[in-house]
Amino acid sequence: MSKLTVPVNDKDHVIGDAQAPVTVVEYGDFECPYCGQAHPIVNKLLIDLGDTVRFVFRNFPLSEIHPHARTAAYAAEAAGLQGKFWEMHNLLFENQDSLEDHNLVSFAYVLKLDVERFIRDIDSEAVTQKVHDDFWSGIRSGVNGTPTFFINGDRHDGSYGYASLRRAIEQIAHKAAKEKGVAI
């Protein structure tokens, strides 16, 4: 069973409560259509499952087949340096056909970022290193395609459809609660 090799840490982008019983880590590629399909599914899961889940996104750009994926990842991280990672993450997935450089800059304007800083940061070592580190943590953890989900550190090998992910999350939440002796 493939396991997450790099635990969630303060370099990660996290939505949700640190005390949530279930942590879902997604390795995703902004130009991958399957990740695009998973995006609204993840959003719905976060709404429906509330405090049960904490969600982390890590970059896994397949740059050989998706020529805009790596720069899109850099754009998300650069936006993150100005506190707007998730907003950029959402814009990228909602505009997968528009990931040219000029589109990324226009997203920065939409998000009211300091655009000059954004353009500098996209090429910065901090940003490129983060994307590199995400990718390799994914490889070492057994990421086998995009999107790949890890639920409490174990790779989810079922489908990333809503029902399959929800069932897996709820089973793991249940197990975590039993281990803690807590009723859900």
């Binding site: 069973m1 493939s2 590629d29 991958c32 259509p33 399957y34 397949l62 740059s63 050989e64 087949i65 998706h66 990718f135 490889i139 070492r140 953890s141 057994g142 990421v143 086998n144 395609g145 995009t146 090998d157």
Partner: protein, 167 residues
């Protein structure tokens, strides 16, 4: 649901079966051509299967890391060379695809990586050392992509002389 690790592979430490398969309409590639280099065989069911990130695309992304160890990667499926040429171009592949087309699946069978019912190769990875010995092997359960972590660890382990099918 098939359990992980019930798919039998050739044992590490055994000699990897040699083969000679087409990579283009006019050219064949043999395992023995790679003597002196570690080789990673990536068996997969079909070109153009409807996922953008099958193990072929994945290994293509991490190829430079394998090249640091002077390792070669080759993909093997039962598709013919024309499909391979188109697929390689579509995926921007930087390693050759071998056609296990005729006799169908013969090399995949030699490596215990052929699914008779489907008429396709399994998703299997073999790491073969510089002397042509199987160093590490893994056949994924049906429906699961193997990932590149096991092969990468195995290649790193070659330098240190450790052979095991551990993941």
């Amino acid at each position: 649901m098939t359990k992980v690790d019930t798919c039998i592979t050739l044992e590490p430490g055994t000699e990897a079966p040699d083969f000679s398969l087409k990579i283009t309409p006019d050219q064949k590639l043999s395992l023995s051509d790679f003597e002196g280099h570690p080789v990673v065989l990536v068996f997969y069911p079909a070109d153009f299967s409807p996922v953008c990130s099958d193990e072929v695309a994945l290994f293509n992304e991490v190829l430079p890391e394998f090249q640091k160890y002077n390792a070669q990667i080759v993909g093997i499926s039962v598709d013919n060379v024309w499909s391979h040429l188109a697929f390689g171009e579509d995926h921007n592949l930087h390693f050759p695809l071998l056609s296990d087309f005729h006799p169908k699946g013969e090399v995949s069978q030699d490596y215990l990586a052929y699914i008779e019912d489907e008429g396709e190769s399994a998703r299997a990875i073999y790491v073969i050392d510089r002397e042509g010995i199987v160093a590490w092997a893994y056949i994924a359960p049906i429906g699961v992509n193997p990932g590149a972590d096991g092969a990468l660890k195995a290649i790193e382990g070659l330098t240190e002389g450790r052979y095991t099918n551990e993941r």
